[in-house]
């Protein structure tokens, strides 16, 4: 029983992290029909910001990380994607890949390809014991952060005028423009929010691994991409569910696979994903609206 609860804690924590990753991708896709593979590099930029500010007071270090990823995301849209607005989906996709490689190369030039080790405040790793279950405070923090972010995002989208405009733009971008919704503001907001999610993901990933490398965003962005596909591209809630599902499945495989097969965990994981998409090609959540690309 204790083992089971331990696994539940692990699954909740990993699922929360994956949900945060996936929402960052889904936010941009919902508005622009763009799968931004350079999202991983926002995480990398966040991690190097944390590294550069290692030793400064932690509130400053964490806030600066979020601020830098938000600014980087907005700049990414302004400099790399806006000139291609209206281009076809493959052009946007290739642009995002090119940007991803360019930023990784730039990071390699500046920081070399060797991992930079550092650690975040120790309270990320405090052991917590409830009954017979032991877990680190990071598990709890990851879950709580996900709840706060998803709740905050939902409130923003439902209650604020800008949120309503974003939902309208996600449903039909052209018609939204025709009722006066400012396309630049809506798209910049989507990127800023995506940057915020990437910054949070960077903090959680560094708190877990304690290193920054130029290619550290590639793994998370793949997970985020797969999670949004499973969730049904275009649905924010779907992306969150997809992320959770992947996290839970990963932990289940970790537990049930015999030692000899454990190194092939990801192969089993993605075989499961293929199976789901064969059974439900539209993903777990079907979006009613058809998105218009801008």
């Amino acid at each position: 029983m204790t083992d089971f609860l331990q696994h539940v804690v692990d699954a909740l924590s990993l699922g929360s992290l994956y949900a945060v990753l996936a929402i960052g991708i889904a936010l941009i896709f919902g508005i622009m029909n763009l799968i931004n593979f350079a999202y991983g590099e926002l995480i990398m930029i966040g991690a190097y910001t944390l590294f550069l500010l290692d030793g400064t007071p932690w509130p400053f270090q964490l806030a600066a990380c979020l601020l830098v990823t938000i600014i980087a995301a907005v700049l990414m849209e302004r400099l790399a994607f806006r000139p291609f607005r209206g281009a076809s989906a493959p052009v946007l996709l290739v642009t995002s890949f090119a940007l991803s490689f360019a930023l990784q190369s730039l990071a390699t030039v500046i920081f070399t390809s060797r991992a930079k080790g550092f650690s975040l405040p120790s309270w990320f790793d405090d052991p917590i014991t409830i009954g017979s279950i032991d877990f680190s405070s990071l598990n709890l923090i990851t879950f709580l952060v996900m709840v706060v972010l998803v709740g905050g995002l939902a409130a923003f989208l439902q209650r604020s005028m800008l949120g309503i405009q974003m939902r309208a733009a996600a449903e039909n971008f052209r018609t939204a423009q025709l009722v006066g919704v400012r396309s630049n503001v809506v798209i910049a907001t989507a990127f800023a929010l995506s940057g915020l999610f990437a910054g949070v993901a960077a903090i959680l990933i560094v708190a877990q691994g304690g290193t920054a490398t130029p290619s550290m965003g590639s793994g998370p962005v793949l997970i985020a991409f797969v999670a949004t596909i499973i969730g049904g591209l275009g649905s924010l809630y779907g992306a969150a569910y997809g992320g959770f599902f992947l996290g839970v499945l990963t932990v289940i495989l970790q537990v049930v696979l015999p030692d000899a097969l454990a190194p092939y965990r990801d192969a089993f994981l993605y075989a499961g994903v293929v199976l789901i998409l064969l059974l439900r090609p539209q993903g777990l959540i079907v979006v009613k609206s058809r998105f218009e690309r801008v």
Binding site: R167, A168, N172, T175, V179, V181
Partner: protein, 234 residues
């Protein structure tokens, strides 16, 4: 209010509209009619700035619209009731109405929305419902209200009677008549040729991307003339 000169619009190499000249004076109601595929919707789409002309100019309130974004034209006093209504089905009726009133103060937005609810009382009881659940007629009312909340000087309507029951079509034209008396300039695209030409001060008949006939209501009173031009006999 709106002057179009030698407008040519194309999808790839295939021209959809060729050398179109069209004017809409202030306070006027003009209709643009023609069969399916004549280029009516394409013309409206170009006027709103969503597609770029291959050649020719469009002037709105005296200034060329080339290079301007649709939302900037909307803020300048142009609004479209799009074909197929295109209400935001996942948003509530109230949210659909709040969108175009985003720049107004809360009190001004409330009173503007209230005026629309008096114009179309059927919407008042549905404010909190998802707009996708409205009937076709109610969706059209919502689309018209949404456009009017943009406070347009020029209102463009794309097939507002399409797919609606005759009684609802009467309601829509009655609402348009009311708008005309309020001084709103109207450009109406319709397949319902007789109805549209009876409503409008002037009518243009578009066929295969070209204007084949134009005239005032009185000049086009001869239904046979209209039908012939509509079918391409002229």
């Amino acid at each position: 209010m709106l002057e179009i000169e030698k407008l040519t619009l194309a999808y790839g190499k295939a021209p959809a509209v060729s050398d179109l000249d069209l004017t809409v004076g202030e306070g006027e109601a003009v209709s643009l009619i023609g069969p399916n595929g004549a280029g009516k919707t394409t013309t409206l789409t170009a006027i709103t700035g969503l597609i770029k002309p291959a050649s020719g100019t469009i002037r709105f309130k005296g200034a060329p619209t080339g290079g301007r974004k649709p939302e900037s034209l909307v803020r300048d006093g142009m609004a479209l009731v799009p074909e197929g209504r295109q209400i935001f089905s996942t948003l509530t009726v109230g949210e659909n109405l709040r969108l175009p009133a985003a720049d107004l103060s809360r009190a001004d937005a409330e009173s503007a929305i209230q005026r629309e609810l008096e114009r179309f009382p059927a919407l008042a009881s549905r404010l909190g419902d998802p707009a996708g659940g409205l009937s076709g007629g109610q969706q059209q009312m919502l689309a018209i209200s949404r456009a009017l909340l943009c406070r347009p000087q020029l209102l463009l309507l794309d097939e507002p009677s399409l797919g609606l029951a005759p009684k609802i079509v009467d309601d829509v034209f009655e609402a348009l008549e009311g708008l005309r008396t309020e001084g709103v300039t109207i450009l109406l695209v319709e397949q319902n040729a007789i109805r549209a030409s009876q409503f409008a001060d002037r009518t243009y008949v578009l066929n295969a991307g070209r204007v084949v006939l134009s005239g005032t209501r009185e000049e086009l009173a001869d239904a046979e003339l209209l039908t012939d031009s509509y079918l391409g006999a002229l």
